[in-house]
Structure formats: C-alpha cells, structure tokens
Symmetry: C2
C-alpha cells in the first residue's frame, strides 16, 4: 500500500472522519481510522460506535491530481496521531507508504514518521448498504428542523428515546419532534417525494454531528431503514444508528386555543430575561411573568441576594391579568431558535403548558411547562 | 450614599477590580467589592487576599461628566452580581442608591434591581500607604522582563519562593530571575534611578495579573517595601503581597563558556520540535537533539506508537558530535519568549545544563537541564 497525496485535502478528510472519535475509547479499535486506497480514491473511515463517517478523496478533482503513485491497500492507524502529524507537517504533498502491513512511513523532504499500524481486517463491520426509504431533502430545511428541535431533547433521562429527535412522515409532511418531558419542540417540513412513510428516533447528539458536516451541500440524500440512517453527502458518507422503541405520543399535547396572548419583541424580551435571571440563580433560573393590558413585567427574587423587576417596552397583550413562572433557559432557548423578530406566547392558565410561536412561520411550535409561581 | 454614573466607565472599573476574585472564596468578604463614592471620584476595591486592585473613576474626565448626583458613602456588594448587572443593563447611565446601608437600588428607566449590601466597615484593612523604595520603570521593559522569566517559576513546588519571580537590584541594574529547579530564566533591565537596592520575591501568578492591567501606561510607578509592592497606574492602584524567605543563590549556575554551539532559525526549530514531540507523548515530551557539522536532527521514539526524525534545514553548528535529550516544553517556552528570529543553544556536554540566548539581546538568558538520552 502506498500513495502520495495533497496535504490540505488529506488533512480535511482526516479531520472530518476523526472529529467524532472521543479521546479515550475502551474499544481500542475506535481510536483508529481505516485508510483504504483504491485506484481512483482514498477512503478514510472513523466511528464512535453510534456514528460512522467515511470521507472520500477522489484521485482527480477538477483538473487537479490529488493522489498519485498509488499501490492499493488498507490499514488501521491511530486517528489522533495521523491527524496531528498531517496538521503539523510542512509542504504541499506527503508520502504514505505501508511496509508489511505493520509500519506506515509518513514522509516529506525533512520529516520522517514511522507509525505502527493494524491490519484492516480487525476493523468493525459497518453496513454501508443503501437500502430502505430514499429521501432527498433541502439542506437548509433539514438543518433548520434539527436546530429548532434537538435542543429540547433530554440529556439526563434514562429513556433513550427522549434523548432523540423523532422524525416521522405520513407521506406528505415530515415532522421533527423533541421533548424532555418539561418542554417540547416541533418543526414540520414538506416531503416533496410523496407517499413514503417512516418513523425513526435519531440521537440528538449524533444528528447534531451530522449537521456540522453539512457545509457545501444544497441537497442531502438519505436512506432510512430499521437499523440506520445513511447520509450520502459530497465526498462523505455518514451512517448513524437509530434508537429502537416507540416515541411518546405527543400529538394531543399541544393546545390549539388560548385565553391569554402576549406578543413581544424578541431582543427586548430576551435581554430582560437575561437580566432578571441573575437574581434567581439560587432558584433554578425561575422568573415570573406578570401581564395585564397596562403593563408587562418579568421579575425574580432571591432571599439572600435581592430582587429584580423589568418593564417590557414593546409588547401587545390580550387577556385578563395573568402571573406565570417558568425556567428562563427553556423559554430563552425556545425563542432563540425561532429566529423571528417578534414571538407570540399563548397561555391557557397559570399552571398549563404554554406555546411560543413565530409571527411569520406556522410550521414550528415550542411548548413549555410552567412552574408554580412563588 | 448615591450616584448616577456613566455605564461603560462603571463596567470597565468593575471588571478591572473583580477580575482577580475567584468564583468561590471561603472568606465571604472576598466575594465583595468595596464601592466608595467621594465628591470627586468613585473607588472600587477588589481583593483575593494576595492582590488588591483599587480602580478609580474620576467625577470629570476631559470635558465629560462621568458621575453626578453624588451623596458620599461606601458599601460592600457582591462582585459577580453587580458586575453582571452592569454588563447586561441597557442605556448610557445607571442610578445607584443605597438605603439604610443595607439595600442598593440599581436602576434605569426599565430595569430595577435591589441588592443586599454589607457595611463598609466589615472589609479587610488594606495598607495603601506609599512607602519603601520608589521606582519608575518603562512599561515595556517591565512587561518583557516578566514575560521572559515568570513562565520558568514552579507551579507545584512546596517552597513558595520558587513560585515567585525574584526581583533584585544592586542600584544599577534590576535582575529578574525565575527557576523551578530544572530550568532558569533571567532578564536584566536598567534602573535609571541609581543607588536603590532591593530584593523581593513576587508570586508569578499575581505579577502576571498585574501585567494584564498595564494597558495604556508608558511608565509605571511602584513602591517596594518589606511587605508589599504597590503599583500606581492610570486610575488604578494595585497592591501585591510579597513572599518572604531568601531566594536560592543562582548567580553561579549559568555557565559562561561552551564546547558546542548551535544557531537555529526559531520557526524552523520550533516546528520540528512540535512534530517530533507527537511521538514522545508517553515519554514526558522528551526528544533527542543530535548534532554534527554535516547534519542536525531532532528525534523521538515511543515503543507503542512509532518514531519520528526531523532534519533541520537552517542552522550553524560548531563542535564535535553531540547527542542531548530534553523536555520539549522547557526548550520551546524558553525559545518563544526570546522573540528572536535566530536563537543560540550553547552546550558543555551531554548531561550539563545548556543555555538558550537571543542573537541580538545579551540581557536575557534561559537555562535548561537535559535528561539522560535514551
């Protein structure tokens, strides 16, 4: 096995495939990258057990030769070590030569590294088959749907499905849902290819890793089956395992009517929350919203430190007087991902979950459960 | 006590005096800032026990009124809380009113904070007297001297003096020295005011905090006595306690001759070290330098991972063949602070401490002890 390769392209692919590898894996094989050189490409595969990224460097790109002097073959090599060597090495090209399937020589004019390597057969079997439901999605729609929902999934919960984003389609729309039990986020996007139904739970942490890899795509191609989701991107294939088990039925949780409605300027409201929350650090970031038609305030109180009250400057309110308390983190996160200049909070009562929606986009909804007012 | 103050100037002073306050102090008083308003200024004092910073905001600056509506008085207030409130509050000005020496109201048109405060009498007594040896130093000389020495002080050592930079003057020159036992750094600057002798140990950590505060000064005025060093800066006074005990005698440690001399290009040498050190991560960053007139290499070897060798491109060497091993961190740090395009390494033998010097500045010297070559 040997090849001479463009250093910058090699580094980019190494970083892409190794970014999901944790610093210390109990399974030593997961500290390795699989490097396989073919006549027309180099494949670099990294995995953390839940997500696998295969980066592909073509031999020729546009008019440029990226790889030359190829002798086909494959080995496993320490991911951190090879990535750091290529990051620090000088020059435009680097030679990579494997002797006896046991030692890789990485060389240029002045640097000479010999790294112990492992036989390629020792890597995990990873199923790269393209089977199951085939979808093509607009990249921006997909990224928006994940960013507007995944933060609401649970990080501590014992039930693995609550650590996921649920992605479900009845054939027309694709619905993204995440909930940790105290809040819920939902986004709907169109499915241009009608008639395909599916329902999968994808871990929020890994789907966010996938989103980070979506840089120059305008469309993304994916295959969903009962075991995995496969993303086919430009020069990169990503496989993620899905979480089995049925997602809680959240269809009827979201109220469709309201008795109180507050429309606020996003920045004005977020900045007021950001200030009053300072005085609730010993009360788990709980603040109180007090609304009537004359005045809307947010306030907080800490027995040791003091209290704070903010008058909202820009708002519209419909309804009787209402006091409601909530966790600022939940409300701030929900508002931020809407990316709307104005947001609408709709309430049924002091102890009923309330919704936060965007003024101009009815395909996304955030739900937050209040806490008892102090 | 009350005042209305320019918000940006207030925030700048709060940040300056609170930056040394740790997040959790066993002595609760050290979580506080002392705010004292006089007819002509506001003083904000913060301390961590080892270093005290008093920031001063004048009532008038140039043609601008920074503080108005003054009623003199003083209180202690939670440093984190007041700083975060002023950081987040909107508007150009903020009102600060204390009622009954127990509650501070911080207000503008829309925000209203009430913070519990403590009586000013409960703060520690801090000696701000300007006595002892009086010095005026060029700011850049002083900052360079600290940056070229303080990194070499010990961080683990039980002996407190080794955590210090020793600053000594015989009346002509001021000598800055730091050592952790395995390396030593020394810088000499001129003392324009002749005849003043002193010898103090200042903790490296706190002197680096002082350096961070030196932003717009061209000269710095200081007073050194047996208990403290007092820095009188633009709108800020800093007091640091000094460490008692005699500093080790290092005068005769630095060799004045050599048998082997290597001159290298700083960047070429540092980059080579940075690469080979990758293969010595399980050997405490030890690499080997092998020199003769035909070739100079740096190399490393790890039984598990592999080995690396680098050919230096740009060098001049005088002497017989020599192999010497050292900790890369020690050598890299010593070279970097010299800020010289070429550096000179001078050796007496394989197991003798060697010096690293700048080609164009004979007032600074770095000494490193080698380790046994593998």
């Amino acid at each position: 096995m040997k090849f001479t390769i463009n250093k910058d392209e090699f580094l980019k692919a190494l970083l892409n495939s190794s970014k999901i590898i944790q610093s210390k894996n109990t399974d030593a094989i997961l500290n390795m990258l699989k490097l396989e050189i073919f006549d027309d490409r180099l494949e670099i595969t990294g995995s953390n057990g839940e997500i696998t990224i295969k980066s592909i460097i073509p031999r020729y790109k546009d008019d440029k030769t990226l790889i030359r002097d190829i002798q086909i073959g494959g080995i496993l090599i320490n991911a951190h070590m090879i990535t750091e060597i290529i990051r620090r090495i000088d020059g435009d090209e680097v030679n990579f030569i494997v002797e006896d399937n046991s030692l890789a020589k990485i060389q240029n004019l002045k640097s000479n590294f010999n790294l112990n390597v492992t036989r390629v057969e020792e890597y995990r079997d990873i199923d790269f088959d393209e089977n199951g439901t085939h979808l093509i999605l607009n990249r921006n729609d997909f990224v928006l749907a994940i960013s507007q929902t995944s933060f609401a999934s649970s990080i501590k919960e014992n039930r693995d499905v609550l650590k996921c984003v649920n992605i479900e389609s009845d054939g027309n729309e694709i619905i993204f849902t995440a909930t940790d039990g105290a809040r819920l986020a939902r986004r709907i996007i169109n499915n241009s290819e009608n008639g395909q139904t599916f329902n999968v739970n994808v871990p929020a942490k890994t789907i966010n890793e996938v989103v980070k890899s979506l840089t120059d795509e305008t469309e993304i191609e994916l295959y969903i089956n009962e075991n995995k989701v496969l993303f086919k991107l430009n020069n990169c294939v990503i496989i993620m395992t899905i979480v089995l088990g049925s997602y809680p039925n959240t269809r009827n949780i979201i109220p469709h009517n309201y008795y109180y409605r507050l429309e606020v300027n996003t920045q004005d409201f977020l900045k007021a929350l950001d200030r009053v929350v300072l005085l609730s650090i010993d009360r788990e970031n709980i603040v109180k919203l007090t609304m009537n038609e004359e005045e809307v305030t947010v306030s907080s109180r800490s027995p040791q430190i003091g209290d704070a009250i903010e008058l909202l400057q820009i708002y519209k309110y419909q309804g009787e007087r209402l006091e409601i308390s909530f966790n600022v983190e939940y409300v701030s996160q929900a508002i931020r991902v809407l990316k709307s200049e104005e947001v609408i909070l709709s309430f049924l009562g002091e102890m009923k979950p309330f919704t936060i929606t965007s003024k101009n986009d009815d395909k996304v909804i955030q739900l937050v459960t209040p806490v008892r007012t102090f």
